[in-house]
């Protein structure tokens, strides 16, 4: 047995079924060994998308996603995907091949100091120099990636280590990392304190972030909110913690969110932020969420608490455990008037859009699409105007809403949708992107066809990098600079046909409903182009 066989055995021991990647000489021993395993390989068309695909899989399955690429440019191409996963705390193992360990540091062909390069985007990284370390390193890496605050872990393996004979392979059963003991259970005193304050609160609210999904605390949070009738808002990463139509849900906060959600949060007297990092897009004025209210900040990462805002009650721990503990506390709270106020806001503070009838209205279209999609479908939003429309108009019922909220990486949706579909082939998966983000990831149509991954792709085409155009509209008085992509976007119908993908175009809302039905009818790959008014705005 050689190192490469051991690496594959480690993945098998972790229950990994798919590896996304792109080979090169330095990772060839690993890709040679994987042929003898049941683990399937998905050959992406550029390395960044291997990371996004692993991220998509991890997010729908709750398991660690795995990608494997070669040294040098293969590894550096992965960086944006790693940084994207890091910003959203997605558990992932990134395996990179490396040049011969004796040549490390001598700038040989395809050598890149990848552990150094990714230092600020990974939870941890390893450079394996001794083949006997492989089982321990993999065991630790999987544990680190999927515990505490989750995140990507990179393992760099020189080619000679992959080829070296390993004396005996034994996958460790336990991990013991002296300095890594994440706090999972919330402090009992703090939990009681939260409940005591909640009892007194007149206007309580919960703001749920992506951490609620990551800790699988969705059900616990919903139960708690329903039982005590506590209104819930969410950040972009927290969309789907509550079904959109839930009476206790009051929308997404933030500068791209609902006005009534922000108002609800600001007017509350007791705010529970859970699994959210209080970043600028969600909370543009941190002082508003601390004045005149008790702020409870729940996070598994102690460094998040007090980083951007000083809470009245800090509570370190895993959201699932903490809401479980909350549910065991007996107490009564009464704030029906507050709920009625918020219901009033939700009804009246709705922005009126005046869509151009010559085009597809993204708001109406996305609502219609949500209604037609399967109840438990996965909706993957890209980045740009399409993302903001998706956040605001997609109706989550029992499915998931995936997007990259932290890094805002264009081109995320198609590879992430591939991974999400691979993670659960039974589920319907729809990627919604713009014509800008589509062109950043359209090479993956090849992957989708080669590996028969039936994802649905919708391109909102407006011939602009719409989000930047909108920014220039507001901030530079329509002085548009490098945002017009009209001359270069390919004919998507011809492009789809070149890949053998069925295509549907939606010009306006007239036949949108039938076209959506046709688009979603079968579990196959399809490309839909929606023509959107280039001058449409999300604000």
């Amino acid at each position: 047995m050689i190192g490469a066989d051991a690496m594959v055995r480690c993945l098998e021991n972790e229950g990994i079924t798919t590896v996304y990647g792109y080979p090169g000489v330095a990772i060839c021993p690993f890709y040679n060994s994987i042929l003898d395993s049941k683990i399937q390989t998905i050959l992406v068309r550029t390395e960044q998308n291997a990371a996004h695909a692993a991220s998509g899989e991890a997010r729908v399955t709750g398991r660690v996603g795995v990608c494997a690429v070669t040294s040098g440019p293969g590894a550096t191409n992965l960086i944006t995907g790693i940084a994207t996963a890091f910003a959203d705390s997605i558990p992932m193992i990134c395996i990179t091949g490396q040049v011969n360990s004796e040549l490390l540091g001598s700038d040989v062909f395809q050598e890149a100091d990848i552990t150094g390069a990714v230092e600020s985007f990974v939870k941890y990284s390893y450079l394996i120099k001794n083949v006997e370390d492989i089982p321990r390193v993999f065991k630790e890496a999987f544990y680190i990636a999927n515990s505490g605050r989750k995140g990507p872990v990179l393992i760099d393996v020189p080619i000679d280590v992959q080829n070296a004979a390993i004396k005996s392979f034994k996958y460790p059963e336990e991990v013991n990392i002296r300095a890594y003991k994440p706090t999972i259970k919330g402090h009992a005193v703090q939990i009681k304190k939260v409940i005591r304050e909640l009892e007194k609160a007149k206007r309580p609210i919960i703001c749920a972030g992506g951490g609620v999904h990551l800790s699988d605390a969705v059900q616990e949070l919903r139960d708690f909110a329903h039982r005590h009738r506590i209104p819930v808002v969410s950040t972009m990463m927290g969309i789907g913690v509550m079904p959109t139509g839930d009476p206790m849900y009051f929308g997404m906060v933030g500068n791209n969110g609902k006005a009534y959600a922000n108002r609800a949060m600001n007017e509350s007297d007791f705010l529970v932020m859970v699994g959210a990092r209080v970043a600028d897009r969600a909370i543009s004025q941190p002082d508003l969420i601390t004045t005149n209210k008790i702020l409870v900040h729940i996070d598994v990462d102690p460094a998040e608490i007090g980083k951007n805002v000083g809470p009245s009650i800090p509570l370190v721990g895993d959201a699932k455990h903490i809401f479980d503990d909350f549910s065991r506390q007996e107490f009564e709270c009464e704030h029906e008037a507050w709920i009625q106020t918020l219901e009033g806001y939700r009804e009246t503070m709705v922005k009126k859009r005046s869509p151009n009838p010559d085009y597809v209205d993204p708001a109406a279209f996305i609502e219609m699409l949500s209604g037609e999609m399967k109840e438990d479908a996965v909706y993957v939003a890209d980045v740009g105007q399409n993302q903001i429309w998706s956040c605001n108009y997609h109706v989550v019922r029992a499915g998931r809403f995936l997007t990259t909220g932290g890094m805002g990486t264009m081109g995320y949706s198609i590879p992430a949708a591939m991974g999400a579909k691979r993670g659960n082939m039974e589920k319907q998966v729809v990627a919604v992107c713009g014509d800008g983000s589509f062109q950043m990831s359209m090479m993956e149509l090849a992957t989708i066809m080669q590996h028969r991954i039936p994802v649905k792709i919708i391109v909102m085409k407006n011939n602009y990098l719409g989000m930047v155009r909108e920014y220039q509209h507001y901030n530079y008085k329509d002085h548009y600079s490098v945002v017009d992509i009209s001359g270069g976007t390919p004919d998507l119908e011809k492009l789809a046909s070149a890949y053998g993908i069925p295509f549907i175009r939606v010009e306006n809302m007239a036949h949108a409903s039938e076209k959506i039905a046709a688009f979603l009818k079968e579990d196959n790959t399809m490309l839909m182009e929606c023509l959107v008014d280039p001058m449409d705005l999300v604000k």
Binding site: I144, R178, G306
Partner: protein
């Protein structure tokens, strides 16, 4: 506000880089940084002197604790610690300045550890502020080169 962080870390390749990288990435100041092995060869101790507001000071400790190679962080103020710095200074001398230099060394409790016909090397181990005084005193003479360890510190001895 000034704080001294005594950080126990795994004695592994790349750990210094991870810790210093954390400071640069998060825009934390490093006034000085000293690293050395401890009594346990698997553990190194980094002494980091940094300054910032209350939020920064707290974040430095939390972010350090988050690093998987960081075993323990002790944060303390100067007044609660014993701190020392070692400096080696090479100065040029002539007959006119030799006496002055020797007097300064005597007053400051510094040692002359090496000498040639034109230069001498002085060693001083003292409080960081006394090191600064020594440096200022010798500036008016003729400093050739200087090497400093940065502050080393441990919390004061307290019986439990």
């Amino acid at each position: 506000m000034k704080r001294i962080y005594s950080v126990s870390v795994e004695n592994r390749a790349g750990v210094l880089c991870k810790v210093s990288g954390l400071f640069s990435r998060r825009c934390f100041n490093i006034d000085s940084l000293a690293v050395g092995e401890t009594e346990d060869p698997e553990i190194s101790c980094m002494t980091i002197v940094s300054s910032g507001n209350q939020r920064t000071i707290e974040q430095i400790e939390k972010q350090l604790n988050k690093k998987i190679d960081v075993i323990k962080v002790k944060t303390f103020e100067e007044k609660d610690s014993i701190s020392r710095e070692l400096m080696l200074i090479k100065v040029k001398y002539n007959r006119g300045t030799r006496r002055d230099i020797m007097e300064i060394c005597e007053i400051m409790k510094a040692d002359i550890v090496d000498m040639s016909n034109t230069m001498m090397m002085i060693q001083i181990c003292d409080l960081p502020e006394r090191i600064k005084v020594m440096l200022d005193m010798l500036k008016s003479i003729s400093i050739v080169e200087v090497a400093r360890t940065g502050t080393l510190a441990l919390p004061k001895c307290v019986d439990n």
